[in-house]
């Protein structure tokens, strides 16, 4: 602890004590919270409720339901949030809420027999209403794999929600289904109070089965590309459109990870996450591949006859990223993997690695660098000649970093989960491509944001082995770098983040 840190802590504590923080829930919370319960995606404030008006007799069932034929009740047909549904005329339909965030998931439709909106939020606590049925439809991120990708129509299946002791839904029974229709994914739940009649159950299931779906008016911004189980934990691979590129995240129940990928030419870009503990642990490797790669193989690199795992590439919708697709492999957490991306003709068109660098340190490295992405230090820059002097090194992470760290005399886990090996002082003169791209970290928005740097300022920083600033932008002469060599020339120089 230093003076500044101690001063900050004391300042924060003193200032926080003077903040007039609420000590009790405000009077309006009960109403507000209930309202928000109903809103969730939006029930639009209760002034805007869509009260059913029209009459359509004898709605036909789209699906067979277990409770028998639909009763001959008067029905009406309404459309809410692109969902058209037919239901008994006297029931209440609540649709979306203008002004609510469009972020998914969101509740897009609630259907119930007569009842007040507050009763729908928590029927067990409603004083003047005896709600016996409820149906909700929630829109989820578009899902292209797994059960939720099942096409409509689907039949809701019983689910155990453990609601027996709930104050809101005492002894209710629920059924649930997930499906995808018109490039939209939904989850529907129907609930029955213990005293709901068979006719009522049939009516709500008939309404459920009557739904038809229109495409969303908004472009797709997130997609569940795949789902599965690793280390005993269910996961989803979710792709999202981000300002900086393609966001990929693996999300489990208790943990997950993700990052944003940008187009990196022939590079397979990866990240990984370990689910489970001990012998149950499994590592999920995922990342981006350039358009044209249809299959990714991962070869266990620590033995000559290493295990090979293979996967087909997952198509990322163009609305999310037109240039990149995704892949995912589940491997042993101790495996170090070399990755190869194949095009449709079976040619390797992209490479990458996880847990180790592709090429091991060589006792007599050649002066040239083979095509690929290499880590090291830039020792000098000659903008006029279009060359750099490059000191090749090896950026290790994971177990390999720990091993190298311990071999170098370190104890305990390697700091910051990486270790650089640079045993050979040899400098290589590399030719820069005429349009070489210089990607520098924006340290003001550290550490996944890059800007395209100016070669002259870069040369100045390298020459000084210090920082050169351009406004808020910082060129760090003592940083570490990845160079991408294509056809023998350097096409990209990218700064490596180092704490």
């Amino acid at each position: 602890v230093n003076d500044l840190e101690r001063d900050l802590r004391e300042l924060f504590q003193d200032d926080a004590r003077r903040v007039p923080a609420p000590a009790a829930a405000p009077e309006g919370l009960r109403r507000s919270a209930r309202r928000r319960q109903a809103v969730f995606g939006g029930l639009a404030g209760f002034a805007g409720l869509a009260i059913v008006a029209g009459v359509v007799a004898g709605a036909a069932l789209v699906l067979p339901v277990e409770e028998g034929p639909a009763p001959a009740a008067e029905t009406t047909t309404e459309t809410a949030n692109g969902i058209t549904i037919t239901y008994p005329s006297e029931w209440l339909l609540l649709d979306g809420a203008p002004g609510e965030p469009s972020e998914l998931p969101r509740l897009v439709l609630v259907l119930s027999p007569t009842g007040t909106p507050e009763a729908i939020g928590c029927p067990g606590q409603a004083e003047d209403d005896e709600l016996t049925l409820l149906m909700t439809v929630e829109e989820l991120p578009l899902t292209v794999d797994g059960p939720a990708a099942r096409p409509w129509p689907v039949v809701p299946r019983p689910m155990d929600l453990g609601t027996t002791g709930s104050g809101c839904f005492p002894d209710w029974e629920f059924r649930q289904a997930r499906w995808t229709a018109s490039d939209r994914t939904f989850e529907g739940v129907v609930g029955f109070a213990a005293d709901a009649t068979e006719d009522e159950r049939t009516e709500v299931l008939s309404a459920f089965a009557s739904m038809t779906f229109e495409p969303s008016a908004e472009p797709v911004t997130s997609v569940v590309l795949a789902q599965g189980t690793a280390g005993g934990e269910d996961w989803q691979l979710i792709a999202t459109r981000e300002d900086l590129g393609l966001g990929l995240a693996v999300e489990g129940h208790a943990s997950g990870t993700g990052t944003v990928f940008q187009d990196a030419g022939a590079q397979l870009q990866t990240t990984d996450h370990v689910f489970g503990l001990g012998t149950d642990a499994e590592r999920v490797i995922f990342g981006s591949v350039p358009e044209g790669v249809v299959r990714v193989d991962g070869v266990e690199a620590s033995t000559a006859d290493g295990t090979t795992v293979s996967t087909d590439v997952l198509d990322v919708p163009d609305d999310i990223d037109p240039d990149l697709n995704a892949f995912l492999l589940v491997v042993d957490p101790e495996m170090r993997i070399d990755l190869s991306g194949y095009d449709a003709s079976g040619q390797v068109v992209a490479t990458g690695s996880v847990g180790r660098v592709r090429a091991p340190p060589s006792p007599s490295p050649s002066a040239a660098l083979e095509d690929g992405r290499h880590f090291g230090y830039v020792r000098s820059v000659d903008p006029d000649a279009g060359t750099i002097e490059f000191d090749l090194a090896y950026f290790l992470s994971g177990q390999e970093a720990n091993d190298a760290y311990h071999a170098a005399g370190g104890t305990g886990p390697v700091p910051n989960d990486h270790f650089v090996v640079n045993d050979n002082p040899m400098l290589r003169t590399l030719t820069l491509a005429p349009d070489v791209r210089l990607r520098l970290l924006d340290w003001n928005r550290c550490c996944e944001t890059f800007f395209d740097g100016d070669m002259a300022l870069f040369a100045e920083a390298i020459d000084q082995q210090g920082d050169v600033t351009d406004g808020d932008l910082i060129y760090r002469g003592q940083s570490q770098w990845w160079v991408t060599v294509e056809d023998g020339v350097v096409t990209v120089i990218e700064e490596q983040y180092s704490p």
Binding site: D7, L8, A16, A21, M159, F169, C447, P499
Partner: protein
């Protein structure tokens, strides 16, 4: 996958839970928001809105500890988003916020300098410092609140401390 449905969320989001959650988590949320924004009224608004948004995410009410983290992230997001508006930030830097007085009462020179230096930090750096040195979160937890990695938090805090030291030259590490 869990059967985490809207109705389930409603089940757990009864009014007793909500009041309890409010009492337990709102004071801390308001304090964090106030330390990041420097504006007590704004902090109240942001925290209240974040609370209601978090309540709307019923799934997080199933585990109180998850709710706290979710609320914290919502508050931090709202605070940092607030400062993306350059005009507002400029006004803030000029000391023209709505009611900074509640936390900006003159203390002594050193503290005034520190507050001024904190205000000059980028919003995310300021949030990272508050989360680490006020909320006592680990880098991992702060990263979850800020939506970035633990390493990024470490870097942001390091840069913030570097900036603060530059602005307060009398500060000397022990």
């Amino acid at each position: 996958m869990s059967q985490d449905t809207g109705i389930v969320r409603t089940v757990v989001a009864d009014r007793i839970d909500l009041e309890d959650l409010y009492v337990r988590h709102m004071p801390g949320a308001v304090r964090v928001a106030c330390l990041i924004t420097g504006d007590a009224d704004l902090a109240q608004d942001i925290s209240h809105d974040a609370f209601l948004r978090s309540v709307g995410r019923f799934r997080h009410l199933r585990q109180p500890e998850a709710f706290e983290a979710y609320l914290r992230r919502a508050v931090v997001n709202a605070c940092t988003s607030h400062f993306r508006h350059r005009k507002i930030e400029a006004a803030y830097l000029r000391g023209q916020t709505r009611s900074a007085a509640s936390v900006d009462e003159p203390d002594h020179d050193r503290r005034d300098e520190l507050r001024t230096a904190l205000r000059a930090l980028p919003a995310r750096q300021r949030a990272a410092v508050v989360l680490r040195y006020y909320a006592d979160l680990s880098e991992q937890q702060a990263g979850e609140a800020l939506g970035c990695s633990a390493a990024a938090v470490r870097s942001m805090v390091a840069r913030a401390m570097e900036s603060l030291r530059e602005r307060i030259p009398r500060s000397e590490d022990t």
